[in-house]
Subunit: 340 residues, 2 copies
């Protein structure tokens, strides 16, 4: 891991490691993070599967997009019963994956376990209709999908089978913030083999706060006088090393969700300046399924569905992904994202 | 709500309500809870559906069990993005529901949204096989279940359809701790119409800590110096008013999960004494699918699967539920749970 190579001595773990964990203000260096938290148990398997997928598509010359999707959890105890979660059902990521496959991209779908998944999303997380509610029994002992749903499912299932047969979809999951960060770093290192043919579409809603594992025992749930006192540190800003080291040749797309429209473009520009990546997709909480603004260094562009399109079930991702493919064309051709 | 009638004046909300929220030590009276937290928006609909179900079964003379299942979430912000969750996938509750239906009980399955559900549980929350992975397309445009899974699914689906047709299963959901507590109180009041023909099987893993909604604005996420400071209060012990007021005629079964075997029975006995209910089902974290101990006032009984049974997929709930039905028989006949 390259992070270990660049760590200055004074940040290396010592016997009394407490003062090294942060700057005394709860702000932790990304590099220090990986030295003071445990990698997930399945990281090797994750890397093997991803490596095989990426090498296959490198040979084919296929572009590959890494989509991150869903929320992350932050455990409060070492034997985790309680955790802080930040809600995201993974709708944006799961929907986008289908449109990327349609556009010819091989998709690495790195998602929070049990959040929405491409193709499956049409049938899961429905509070009114469960798995078995789609099925009817037949007298011959077989089980089929209710004809009311079969036509649409036939289309979606065919697309899903095609994606799987053509090896265009690799699904990898995570649960905790720590899983996510270790796997994101690994994924970037592996996708870097594809150079500028890789895209990073960072749609996951990642926790802002966490308890470092070395602090977990110490600051563990204090049940003083009945109340619970928790102190959480800020999650390091990982987009910075991601852009400058982990994935420096890829096209990097991040997301910004706001509730105040006047802040949307300024805050997106601030992120572009701070992290040096290429595209921020800005969306407002209430209208995120109808309108997004794609913000780049020199330009910005609003994509919107008409109310009629929205009613007909057209998805805004059907506009976002072709626009990004166009930007990726320019990125590969010239190393720039903006048209002259 | 009866809770409002018994609140002493000094606990009623005042203009400066802060000191009324707890005893200064983060411990809140259950009655005060309902006056200082908002009921869920769908409580009316919840009560209507449950009322119709209970009245139907009262006419039929069917016994009804209320099963609570899954975890609860504790929001950290009024516009909830972050929340504390306590993990439970709802396996015990969902499995038990099927065995209660087999035993002739009408089941109210009050579960955390998207946790495991009876019948559906055989097909969901599987990290290796998603919804569409069970399906095959046919040339005539229909979609059927892969023959490899059809035989078993035919049996489960038939049982599910029968339960639905005979109105033996009502599924109601909750998300937050507050939803759960308001709905539990309402459910007990409605099930009380059934007198001793009701059973309360409280398998949900309920959060121990929360932020009262009136404190939420005040103690809202403080991002001082980068770190996050949270103070949570203890959740009131609702089993006490549940046993003495809300559901005094029903058979009440609670659960205790331990990691130290020597504490299991003593802690269960302590709970029985403290709350005055009838049965505690004690289980150890590691063996909870193989062995449980049913603890009552005067007796205790261990139920266990042999390793062979466990291997063959026999479920411990196939022993727990008949044992509880037997206890419920005695409860209805004599008002006692223990055999003489």
């Amino acid at each position: 891991m390259s992070s270990q190579e660049v760590i200055p001595d004074y940040l290396m773990p010592a016997t009394s490691g407490e003062q090294l964990l942060d700057n005394g203000q709860g702000i932790i260096d990304p590099d220090v993070y990986f030295n003071t938290n445990k990698p997930p148990a399945d990281l090797d398997r994750f890397e093997q599967r991803l490596s095989a997928f990426v090498d296959y598509h490198r040979q084919q010359g296929t572009r590959v997009v890494l989509i991150t999707s869903g929320g992350t959890t932050v455990p409060l105890e070492n034997q985790t019963v309680r955790f802080i979660d930040n809600f995201s059902n993974g709708n944006r990521g799961a929907t986008s994956a289908e449109y990327f496959i349609k556009a010819g991209y091989a998709v690495v779908f790195m998602h929070r376990q049990f959040s929405l998944e491409p193709f499956q999303r049409h049938y899961t997380h429905n509070p009114n209709r469960a798995f078995l509610d789609y099925m009817v029994t037949k007298e011959d002992g077989s089980v089929c999908v209710d004809p009311a749903y079969a036509k649409e499912m036939h289309v979606i299932l065919s697309e899903y089978h095609r994606a799987k047969e053509q090896n265009m979809l690799l699904q990898l999951d995570f649960v905790t913030l720590s899983d996510y960060l270790f796997k994101l770093q690994s994924a970037c290192h592996i996708l870097a083999r594809l150079g500028n043919k890789s895209m990073y579409y960072l749609a996951a809603a990642v926790s802002d706060f966490f308890i470092p594992s070395q602090k977990m025992a110490e600051h563990k749930i204090q049940s003083r006088d009945g109340a619970l006192n928790l102190v959480l540190d800020q999650v390091p800003k990982f987009l910075k090393p991601l852009v400058s080291n982990w994935a420096s040749q890829g096209l990097i797309v991040s997301f910004k969700l706001e509730t105040d429209m006047s802040l949307l473009v300024p805050k997106a520009r601030q992120a572009l300046q701070r992290y040096g990546h290429q595209v921020v997709i800005g969306n407002m909480l209430k209208t995120r399924k109808q309108t997004v603004t794609m913000i780049m260094n020199a330009t910005e562009k609003e994509l919107s569905l008409t109310p009629e399109e929205l009613n007909e079930g057209v998805e805004i991702e059907s506009m976002i992904i072709p626009a990004l493919v166009h930007i990726h064309d320019r990125w590969i051709a010239s190393g720039h994202t903006d048209s002259p």
